[in-house]
Each structure stands twice: as structure tokens, then as C-alpha cells.
């Protein structure tokens, strides 16, 4: 298969490479078509990120294609691969808007939740202190340094912890969590029993386990159950 592999690799490299070795060649139409399809998917899934990248967009796309390239079978997931590849560098690049990486991570999380598994076969246990809570599959959580989920432009620079979920009508919803709620949810989603998650989560957030925290946590979990984020009762 040596010749076949060589020919395929030649075109793969020509499509993904920074420089276009096919200028003037009819075969170059494939570089144009493949990159257009992936660029369209990225623009569709990450519209605000793409707008914020502005003049840097072409260079960032070229860098993604050349350094890693898409690997997923699913065109819709190419934008997730781009964000995973680039967001840490974007965060640390002073030439880029400071909230760009946060925005990209939120848009990527929104897609992940939008396509998250359905819950048909998942158990719906009663919520107990000594048991693990079961979240619906289409839930994601992210901690960011900017409030990119709000309308402000530019977004306020403040730490936020967001819970994104898909409701029964398939619409995306976003909740901003307090530090204690975020820590408890993180531990619950990691599989810790409720009692331990509350105790350890409070310690993570630096708040005491007192009546106010317990009452607030009970209201919060009831609200999550009402929203369908927590399965069971």
C-alpha cells in the first residue's frame, strides 16, 4: 500500500499545511473545499469567538490545521477540537482580547451540552446524604475569569462558575453558581455522596457548614431537580 499511502499523505499535507503547494493546480480545489467546510462549521458553532478573533482568525485556523488538524468523524466536533487545541494559548496571549479563551470555552461547552446524551436509561434515585446524586447527561460546568455569559461588552472581569444544561425542550440554560454551590456540584458530579460533597465542597469554598449553608444547599438541589438537572427526587 506504499504508493497509495504516499498519494493520500501528499494530499492530506497539502490540504492542512500552512502553505498551499497546490496553487495553480486543479487538485487545489480540494484544499479550498475541505477548509471551507470546516471553517463554516467553526463559524457556526463558535460565532462569538470567531468574531472576536477578527483579523487573527485566518492565522489561528491555519495554525490549527497545520499543527493538529481535525480528527473527529463528526464535522460538528471540529470546533471543539480547535478550542481544545488553542484556548490555553489564547488565554496567555496578551495580543488577544483577555476574555477570548473564556468565550471559546463557553461556546464549546454549549455545543457539548447541546449534543450530550439523552437520559432515557439513566437511574433516577432518591437524593440521600449517603448516596451519589445522578445528573442528567447533558450538563456541563466551567469556571471562567470573565462573565462571558452576560451581555456586557466587554464582559466583566470576575471569576464565574457556570452550569450549562439542556432542558426537556432541548433548549440550553445557564446558571451562575456561588463558589460553594460550584464546589458541591463539582464533587457531586465526580461521584461523591451528597453528605461528603457538601462538607468537602464547603471546605473548598472556604465557608462553614452551618444551618444557612445546609438550607441554601437544600433549596439549590431542589431547584436543580425541578429543572431536571438532577435526576430523581
Amino acid at each position: 500500500m506504499a504508493e497509495l499511502e504516499l498519494e493520500l499523505e501528499r494530499l492530506r499535507a497539502a490540504i492542512l499545511g500552512r502553505d498551499d503547494p497546490l496553487v495553480g493546480e486543479r487538485l487545489g480545489v480540494y484544499r479550498r473545499l475541505a477548509r471551507a467546510a470546516m471553517n463554516d462549521a467553526i463559524g457556526s458553532i463558535l460565532p462569538r469567538t470567531v468574531a472576536l478573533l477578527g483579523a487573527r482568525l485566518d492565522d489561528e485556523l491555519a495554525r490549527f490545521y497545520a499543527e493538529r488538524g481535525p480528527r473527529t468523524h463528526y464535522l460538528r466536533d471540529v470546533p471543539l477540537e480547535l478550542v481544545e487545541h488553542a484556548w490555553r494559548r489564547w488565554r496567555d496571549d496578551p495580543a488577544l482580547p483577555p476574555h477570548l479563551a473564556d468565550l471559546a470555552r463557553l461556546e464549546a461547552l454549549e455545543l457539548t451540552v447541546a449534543i450530550g446524551d439523552d437520559d432515557d436509561a439513566r437511574a433516577r434515585p432518591e437524593l440521600r446524604l449517603d448516596a451519589r446524586a445522578v445528573f442528567r447527561a447533558a450538563v456541563g460546568q466551567v469556571s471562567l475569569a470573565h462573565a462571558v455569559h452576560e451581555d456586557g461588552e466587554p464582559p466583566a472581569r470576575r471569576p464565574v462558575s457556570l452550569l450549562v444544561y439542556r432542558d426537556a425542550e432541548h433548549a440550553l440554560r445557564t446558571l451562575e453558581l456561588t463558589p460553594a454551590a460550584a464546589a458541591i456540584v463539582t464533587r457531586l458530579r465526580a461521584g461523591e455522596p451528597l453528605g461528603i460533597a457538601i462538607e468537602a465542597g464547603a471546605a473548598d469554598a472556604g465557608v462553614p457548614v452551618d444551618d444557612a449553608l445546609l438550607a441554601g444547599t437544600a433549596r439549590f438541589l431542589a431547584d436543580l431537580a425541578e429543572r431536571g438537572v438532577l435526576l430523581g427526587s
Binding site: E5, E7, E9, L11, I15, T72, V78, I115, G116
Partner: protein, 280 residues
């Protein structure tokens, strides 16, 4: 390997919800691309199963990469087989092309070298795919814009050899035949006349667009033109009843306009079918 004959429509998200509100008699069947529904939950899979309750469903893949040199993706095949089983797909179809190598998936239908080595490779891969999916995998002739590497045979010879080597049925895209005939200078009816029409299990029709440099590109971004209607008729007059899928992926018009196009294609199909019956 029975499939509903007549002119159906490739399911697209642009009109999915609106189509679901139409009567069952609107279409004889629909075709979908599993990659748009696999390994995901939410609105679109839910809508897919609503569509399945209304219409028989054919499946047409996008990223199997039949000619690719990476091993098949086990997780993808497992999910694909589960979906085809649940849909009751009589066969699955894929393109005679490659889409990925060296772990990259390029999301484009890329041309294979027209060589004996590629024919043997395609044969092995299609047989493996059919065994994994436990149903026939039909091969679709693709539009191609330039040969990859020095060709050892013509496109037609490559297609025929690949069908023989793989034992695959043929999904005949008559728009692709027309596009290739324009770009590479051959007579499309001569091409069709040399195909094993008894192995055709499905037809695709679509429109195409001309780029500034004169290249005709299979964009699925325009209505099916008269020459493609004529090729559809030519095949049906000789092959008899088959499922025909109208594909539209770009510049998607309102659903009513698409259904008008389905009706126009159905008129072409019905006239050709009457001629096939008259032939005895």
C-alpha cells in the same frame, strides 16, 4: 435488500421541523447521513425518530473513508451499526473516495488514485465494512476534479473494477456523472451505458455550480438541471423502479420549493418508469 422506490429527499436540518409537520404522503422515503445523528442526544436525534415513524429511511455515510489507510474506527462503526439496525436500513451507502489518513479526518470526498492498488484496497475495505455492519455497503461514484497521482486507468474503469473487487452494489449519482463529464470531457450516456445497471440500488440527483475558472463543482447548491433529469430518465427506463434521492446541501430553498422539485423529478421518474414497463 429492498428499498422503497420513487423520489425521496435527503433529510437536512434546514427543513427538518417543517417537513415533520407535513403529511406522510409528501414523500415515499427519506435519506439521512448518520454522522449528523450519531453519538449525540438532544433535538436532532429526537426529530430523526419522529421522521422514522413517518417514512422508510435510507442511510448515506460521509466519513467512512472507504479508501483511507487508517484502520476503521471501532467506536464509529459500533454506533453506526446500532443506528442502522434501529432504523432497519436495508443497506448502507458510502462514497468511492477517501476522507482521512494519518489520524486526520478532512471532511471532504477526496479522490483515490485510479490504480490497481487502490482497487484492491477498496475491495478489502468495503468487504470489511459490510461484515461489520452486517448489511451490504453500496458504493457511490463521486465527482472528482483532478486525478490523484498518475492514473493507470480511467474513472469508469476504476469504478467498475472497484465494484467487482468489493462485490458492492452501486449507488449511482447521475449528477456526479454529469459533473465529471463536463469537467473531464466525456459523453455521460456512454459512461452510463457501460455500468452494470442491475447492480444499482439507488440513485442520487442534485444540482451543481460553475466556479469562476469554469470548473463545475458538485455543491448540491442548485436545482437539478434538465441534463441531470435526462440522465435519471435514461437509467430508470433501463433499470426500472429504484429509490431516487434529491440532495440539497447549500443555498437550501424553502421546503415548498424543494417539494416542487421532488414533484418535477417524480414526473420525470414516472415517465421513465412507464417507458421501462412499455419495454416489457
Amino acid at each position: 435488500m429492498t428499498a422503497t422506490p420513487g423520489v425521496g429527499l435527503g433529510l437536512r436540518w434546514d427543513f427538518l421541523e417543517e417537513l415533520l409537520a407535513r403529511p406522510r404522503a409528501t414523500l415515499p422515503f427519506v435519506e439521512l447521513s448518520p454522522e449528523n445523528y450519531l453519538r449525540r442526544g438532544g433535538y436532532y436525534p429526537a426529530a430523526l425518530w419522529r421522521a422514522r415513524e413517518l417514512w422508510p429511511t435510507l442511510t448515506h455515510g460521509l466519513t467512512m473513508s472507504v479508501g483511507g489507510t487508517d484502520p476503521f474506527d471501532d467506536a464509529h462503526f459500533s454506533a453506526l451499526k446500532a443506528l442502522l439496525d434501529r432504523l432497519g436500513a436495508p443497506f448502507h451507502s458510502e462514497h468511492l473516495c477517501w476522507s482521512g489518513t494519518r489520524d486526520n479526518m478532512l471532511h471532504e470526498l477526496l479522490p483515490l488514485p485510479f490504480t490497481d492498488e487502490a482497487v484492491r484496497h477498496v475491495g478489502r475495505r468495503v468487504r470489511e465494512a459490510a461484515a461489520r455492519l452486517e448489511r451490504p455497503v453500496a458504493l457511490e461514484n463521486v465527482s472528482y476534479y483532478a486525478p490523484l497521482g498518475p492514473p493507470a486507468m480511467t474513472e469508469l474503469e476504476f469504478l467498475l473494477a472497484s465494484l467487482d473487487e468489493s462485490g458492492a452494489p452501486l449507488l449511482l449519482d447521475v449528477n456526479n456523472v454529469y459533473v465529471n463529464s463536463r469537467n473531464h470531457g466525456f459523453e455521460p450516456l456512454d459512461f452510463l451505458a457501460k455500468l452494470p445497471l442491475d447492480r444499482v440500488v439507488e440513485l442520487h440527483v442534485a444540482g451543481h455550480e460553475a466556479w469562476d475558472d469554469g470548473l463545475i463543482v458538485d455543491t448540491h447548491g442548485a436545482a437539478t438541471p434538465a441534463p441531470v433529469h435526462a440522465l435519471l430518465a435514461w437509467v430508470i427506463e433501463r433499470a426500472g423502479p429504484l429509490p431516487v434521492v434529491l440532495e440539497r446541501d447549500q443555498k437550501v430553498p424553502p421546503l415548498d420549493a424543494l417539494l416542487d422539485e421532488v414533484r418535477a423529478l417524480t414526473a420525470t421518474y414516472d415517465r421513465a418508469l412507464a417507458a421501462w414497463r412499455a419495454r416489457g
